[in-house]
Subunit: 107 residues, 4 copies
């Protein structure tokens, strides 16, 4: 079953600018081949349970390599028989409103 997983991973104790660590995660996400969208507060990826959690595990390993403390927040949304939800969830809200919104889908 495909799930949507949103996550945000941050080192504590490496200063207040952490984009170089976030970049490492995005490298891993892209290399996974899974569809994803980056936004200002995290990244949403879509895939099978084991696939998406394997990405999170590898991002954690890469960050833990030189960061002693790491925090991560994750949200999961799973729905039977539904795929392509990275796009369709946004479109569904737009359809209800009858107009496009400022979104990950380029509107």
């Amino acid at each position: 079953m495909a799930v949507l997983l949103e996550f945000s991973m941050t080192p504590l104790g490496e200063g207040e600018s952490v984009s170089q660590y976030v970049a490492r995660s995005l490298d891993i996400i892209e290399a996974s081949g899974l569809d994803y969208r980056l936004h200002a507060m995290g990244t949403v990826i879509e895939g099978e349970w084991d696939e998406v959690f394997d990405v999170v595990r590898r991002c954690h390993e890469a960050m833990s390599a030189d960061c002693d403390r790491v925090t991560c927040s994750i949200k999961i949304d799973s729905r039977k028989g539904a795929t392509g939800r990275l796009t369709s969830k946004v479109k569904s809200v737009e359809q209800k409103l009858g107009r496009t919104l400022k979104s990950t889908e380029g509107s």
Copy 2:
């Protein structure tokens, strides 16, 4: 101080399709005039503390009007002297990687 606030608000007990309720929140967000980005797992808005939390409070009132139970997750990121972070946080990660990513900023 401007903050980034990401939130996702969902009624429990109104069935598994909830986009008509999410649409109500997006109406309120747009009417606030604050800059925002919708993605598949929530919405990120940027503004002063009181402004962004007032939006969340009004979304909760609108959803509670006909939903007996409502859950909401919120994340805040505040940084002194920083504005325009809805865009700049994504760009900063892209600069570290030297390439554009699939993001809310249309890449």
Copy 3:
């Protein structure tokens, strides 16, 4: 309407040990007079919407006083006509199982 609000607030860039900052938040929570429970990953408080968010706002002000970047995650659970949920939600799960669990309610 009484709501449950769980939150966790952390400074970025103040080192990996942050309990002195968390202590400041607990001081504010206790002084509010609202019922609360601290656990290893955050604090749950119960009160009216404006009351609980005022506590979060004041915790953020206290932390921002000497921390340039602050992150915070919040979860809300609101249910019409329900109070005392700090205790009753745990008890309800225990009743379903027919035994006590390791919990904030001292079991």
Copy 4:
């Protein structure tokens, strides 16, 4: 490396009372043998990365068996060389304040 994992898993579309589903998760958590604490907004467990995520995966399988849509929020806190943090993080805040608090540790 031992990590703290907090999670909360909820079915959408199964009505507004969901404690019977949460009880199923607590059964799985207890059977895992990992140390845990239940509170009003979720459960915190402590263990190796693979152990704690295996618990979450099995809770999701158990809930998905008869729930078409499931949402889950997870938070991770990992710190090198630290164990027993289910208790020590609460105690550390209490030491900073010089008094006991209302917490999962029975104060």
